[in-house]
Point group: D2
Chain length 342, copies 4
């Protein structure tokens, strides 16, 4: 079978991570080009990974007939328009989350994808984490019967730089968005209403920027189930990512993987090593698996499992949470977008 | 030191449990009388435990000069008036939760206690569970710094009889009330606002009685922290009681104690035994410890650690949650009672 | 049913523990007398527990017609002759381990028991620990098929006083003897051969007394299975008591119960509290359960589950281990006693 | 830095595994040739991994000036002579364990390595497992003080084919050899004496071939510590690889990594997924890490951490265990080889 030829747009941390995974872990794909507005970054990446072409302008990737598919790993504000351009150029697309913070831009991007009949996968990598994935499979197999309650704890080890906070869209669109997608994935149901509380407990400068750093969100699902999510921008003990689905026949708990299995017992008690530091360490396997899935979908021409609608709904949920927090009341998703998944 | 002489009012399950603990586990106390409107129950209990006196009318306990203190373990609707009578008779009081479902009746009862200068302890036994207690001590010692987020999962193995549901006051006043008290205990702070969602997912007959069987409650604390509680009337796998306090320097998780430490590994995986069935099994030690604490307070003349105000606040939170659920909006506790803990 | 009337011989730590359990936890029994050569100790114990009679001479217990059964909790060197006397007086007997360090004395004691047709239970309390007991039940039920390998780790938190070491009979007869009994209990088979290595690693003064403080023992069972036991007189982190039975269909691991279920996560990792300190804390429930079993056997006239032969075999294994250690070679049990369990 | 050019000898499972790791995971190295007596196997491997040269005769690898270092992954009986040839050709060497079953052949091979001044690393991959490695680091750092007792459990999920058993050298030289190396690695001390028991409990045909399938080995270390190892050729529940080092200040336990972190709770209890199936799954990371280390040593010209002596001592221990098992007595290593690590 022919290798899928990939052009990577954006040579920042996540772009390089995907490029490296494609190069070293996924023999079915080949990175043939990397583009970055800061072309030196593209060149450095290309050199390290043995990629032949670099561009300073992403549109050059779309024009390259060698490229079958693009990975959009540039800054969020460029995603939607790059999706449109890629679609128009007939390239398949993997786009990092979120598609956009502007819902109309998302709709335009999805429309372009639809029209061009290219495949689009959105980068909710946590769906590919072996732990969450296994839980979701058990739920889908009916092992716990109908799901009743979802619980997600999602805490970062430290807040991002303040400059990033400023343009992040706020905690719900930047951080909880992953949990919103996880909620839909784990429960196999859509959320109807969201209620969010939040506070500035970690760093007052985050509050000065109009954002919060700690939040708790309640979800009501269409099927009657409910969910609770709690977030913090700083867990002193590491990157904390857990979930539970409780159903009529049992419960499934996903806890944090540990870096190793040692237990030290001494006069102070029993000790296991700290959690993996952050997403790159914790989700190493999930980044590889999502890319394998994307490549597999391209090879077989099937619809990727994380669609444009998935990308859109999570943003809608983020806006609903934001409004709920600001107005101190539960907010229905249809308040944000009248018809969601039609 | 003289043994504290106890009269037990109500020879049902919980009354007999306390009587048995006092008899066999707490040498500093002696049950001298047991009363039950259904006097045969009192007699059976007295016979089994070697208690000398039985009464068919609780008021006879108050008249008995041998009795130093009473345990009010009768049905909820009798608690408040029995507290008043006991106080007037100069007896110290241990009263099962809730003090009453009627807030004015609670106030009258607390007023009587205050006036009579007797000691009152309310039966929130979970505060004495060694697991939750240890977590609370660690929080109090500042091990995790300022608390930011509280999580409580509290699920019963099966719903109570429908006849009980009818008079229970609803899930928030009957079941979540324990978690409300735990929330205040673990966080060392008062709750300002409550938001509750709920559904009938376990048994439609519970819905027909106007109650729900599954709920998720968000708490906002005065100090800025937040909390999430989830409840179910039926966890197929047993009595599930967990909590977590996450703070600026770390997190403390309390999981379920297991009946034994065996792990069986076979071709299907690794297996540990099911959870303890219900509160009698799970909270065995906490019932003994709360009674020891009550007896200790009487001996030393100090204020019991679970006060009448604790008993009142948890009921107020239950009403706030109920109203929140019914009206689909967050409800401040001051909406229920203007001045709470003055 | 009539309460079983018990006379306790020896008011030291273990005698008082049993007396207290019988008094407060086992309504079917009543301690009517306590004897100790140091009569003041007997009196103190009697006063605290409300026991009516005390004696300075154990033989007075045997003469007391009120006494149905005796608990022999005095020093090891008195056990065998007290068993003989008790048997001759027609009293049922619970005797702490070991029956004696002199195998002929054991035989005489068991002969007297047999002749008098009284019941005898030996104090291997660990068989009643809910964790080991559950594992043994699973093995007996065939859950793991035929057992192949046994592993026991048994470590004390600190060595006993040197004065105790002197008269203890050595680590194999004093400490490993419990593990020898556990091995037979868990595997449901007899040991054929023992190989022991040992060293003085904890305290050189133990070596000066001719004993060792660290040991590893290999067992060969008659049915072909094998076992490994490791012992230490000092585990800095607490009383460590674990076991595993590995069989053709799986394995069962028994780990240490924890004092509570809290897990603290901080920058240093995840922490659970230290192990329970020593046998009184770890085996609280097993001491109660073994006494309940003894009382139950007396009430129903059935043979106790830990017999005189069990008491004898463990001593034989201790001698075999000692000889193996001294001579640096595996030693068959039949070398110590030609016909073991006839 | 120049990439290290590798020739792989033996295109069986382990040779291909290393070749794949070098190709996809270790950018500092490049596999330039693969040789196998069955040249079609070499060609298939080369094709899949994009390796340019294949040979049917291993000696051709030694003659290839492009090759810096060789990986000897052929059958055990060829290892020693290939080491000699590689050394004479001036190639650095990574050799799978065991170096040979013939101690004189080992000595000749090590002599050739010494004379040629090439680097040699022996394939004890478990030293590179992150779990065991972390434990060893903690021991080396002195966290538990002086080690007193080592425990290793090492069980395969199923026996190898009978044809393999025939030429394997027996369980001690084929399977326990890994644990012997682990024992020396974890304890940082040499073994003085070995005592082994064993039995045929898994498959009688293994016994008919003169081998055993279940074993327990006691080790006495020079420094006074002791160790117990238990092995089985078949653990129904998967590949079971655990270790513990107990020392004066604490203990370190290494348990099995789980494939994911899900816990399913239902009416039957709490369930985690089965262990990873076998060494390829369990030691994925260790195979990569050992190869990284080998390449790193070549780049920096430093002595590999698993030396020829390590390779030899483990074989000596295997012979000592075999003799101990056959003669039913402890065997000193100096009985096998008078001067071991001179």
């Amino acid at each position: 079978m022919e290798r899928i030829k990939i052009g990577v747009i954006g040579a920042g941390r996540i772009g390089r991570l995907h490029a490296e995974n494609l190069t070293y872990r996924i023999p079915e794909a080949e990175v043939v080009a990397v583009a970055d507005l800061f072309e030196a970054a593209a060149e450095r990446c290309a050199k390290e990974l043995g990629i032949s072409k670099t561009f300073g302008d992403p549109s050059q990737v779309f024009e390259d007939p060698d490229v079958d598919a693009v990975l959009i790993c540039s800054s969020t504000n460029t995603h939607a328009s790059l999706i449109e351009q890629a679609a128009e150029a007939g390239k398949h697309i993997f786009c990092e989350k979120p598609i956009a913070l502007d819902l109309e831009a998302i709709d335009r991007a999805l429309e372009a994808v639809k029209k061009a009949e290219v495949l689009l996968q959105v980068g909710f990598n946590r769906r590919f984490d072996p732990n969450f994935r296994r839980a979701q499979e058990l739920v889908t197999q009916g092992v716990i019967g109908k799901p009743h309650v979802l619980r997600i704890t999602s805490r970062d080890p430290e807040p991002p730089p303040l400059d990033y906070i400023k343009v992040s869209g706020g905690i719900f669109l930047d951080m909880t968005i992953h949990d919103f997608d996880m909620a839909r994935f784990m429960m196999g149901d859509e959320v109807e209403e969201v209620y969010a509380v939040g506070a500035v407990l970690v760093d007052s400068r985050i509050g000065e920027l109009g954002d919060i750093d700690t939040a708790a969100v309640t979800l009501r699902f269409r099927g009657g189930a409910m969910g609770v999510i709690d977030n913090s921008r700083r867990a002193a003990y590491g990157y904390d990512q857990r979930a539970e689905v409780f159903g009529e026949k049992g419960t499934i708990v996903v806890s944090n993987p540990k870096p190793d299995t040692t237990v030290l017992s001494d006069t102070q008690g029993n000790h296991t090593p700290p959690l993996l530091h952050f997403f790159v360490e914790r989700y190493t396997d999930s980044y590889i698996a999502e890319m394998q899935e994307f490549i597999g979908c391209l090879q077989e021409g099937r619809e990727p499992p994380v669609t444009g609608i998935d990308g859109k709904v999570s943003v809608v949920m983020g806006y609903a949470a934001q409004r709920s927090y600001e107005e101190g009341r539960p907010v229905k998703l249809e308040e944000i977008v009248p018809e969601l998944s039609s």
